[in-house]
Amino acid sequence: MDDLERLYKTHYSAVVRFLYRKIWDADRAEDLAQEVFIRAMAHQPEKPRAWIFAVAANLARDEARAAIRRKKHLTLLKDDPVPLTTPDASAEDSVERDERLAQVQGALSTLSQRDQEVLLLWDAGLSYPEIAAQTGLAVGAVGTTLARARKRLIEAYDRKEYPAHAARS
């Protein structure tokens, strides 16, 4: 239990961020993150860190399917992507941050499912072997996938942020 408790404290925020970047709903992401750790306590997995992200990915997938079924997904993307702002932040800061968030979100959505998954798992702190085990890739292919995903994310973001420059180049 101690290991799981430590993992809970150190990885809870990473799991919430990982889920949020898949379902774009802050409250639901926290709900699902707690669900992940509840399941981990029940299962006591041998490799808990890899396990919690595997379960988180599955829950996010189920959530996305359910959202599509409810015809809610587009509404979520449109209305609820950005509870990032602090309540007292100035309106200008808030608008700027919202725009930036929407651009990054849009850039991420241009990546393939595989590239997104690998990139988000890496950003959540998983090692190459853990990413390989979760995605079914060979360990050697993780670096290739990450290299491609990073490049595509930056290119897509630059296309949105600097469209004129991107068109010229």
Partner: protein, 333 residues
Amino acid sequence: MRHVPEEELHAYLDQALSRSQCVEIETHLARCGHCRAVRDDTAALRDRTTALLATLTPRPLILPPPMAELMSRRPVSVGSRLSVRTRRLGLLAAGVLGAVGAGWLARSVSLPIDVDPPVPMATALPATPLSTPITTVETIAEAPPPPPVSQPRRLELARKPAEDSAPPEAIAPAPELTLVSAVAPDGEGSPGGASVTALPPVAAPAGFDRLWRSVEWEDALVLAGGSLPFINGLPVLGVLLQPGQPGERPVVIVSQQHPSGEILRSIEGPVEKITEFLQRPAEPGLNASEPARTTPDYIESRGVTRRVLRALAVTGRLRADSLTALARAAALR
């Protein structure tokens, strides 16, 4: 001459290669300007990706609910649990109903009644408990303890339970800090799972003269707002924190052991402090990386939001370019 493939440079910067592979790449980089340029581009690409993804967070500070609360949910089926949103909506509705009811009551008795505003939702949520008391090992301070970090929860965490009502005790200056924690944060930092033994004490770095606290990894993680500088794959020897100004995250030093035995210190904090630290004369043989930018603080003061840029640098007895590569590979975990 065969150049290093780009994906291998990504794996190198991600600390995902074996020691022998790293040596092979570093040897090649030392004599190949083309690959050094590609490495720098790759590191910049990697840094930008990290920075972009860092913006995709639901809140600036994500704290786990108390473990006990999670445990209490175990027997409850998933379907019957109320979602966070539902609970918040319920609290909001209860607050509105309470306010309306109180107003109606006040009007009906035609007496001036002070109606308490509805309880803010944030205070209705359970506070994070103190898992392990934080031990103030020692200080190098002449000043009284600086103001703690801004979050009320952090204030609770920063106190010893027995000291809640006691005045702060005088802390004697001393030159070195003893280790409190010698565990890797995720159990994978130590190659082969070997435990870290017979480690030298982690000395307080020269150049800082305010209060430093040595804290456990998980507590430091909470105090630092959910992220600490961490070089993947290296065991953590200890974490030092220096509280920042109100609303500012603390300056953090994470000491980790390189496979060569050298101790590396990742220092993360406001750019001015990191720059000041790097400009001070260092011990012979001690090098520092170029600072890498990390997530800034947004500090609200008198209705104005101020942005405080933060940076990360790695110091140790390795070559400066190796430290710079490590600083780029280090992430806020």
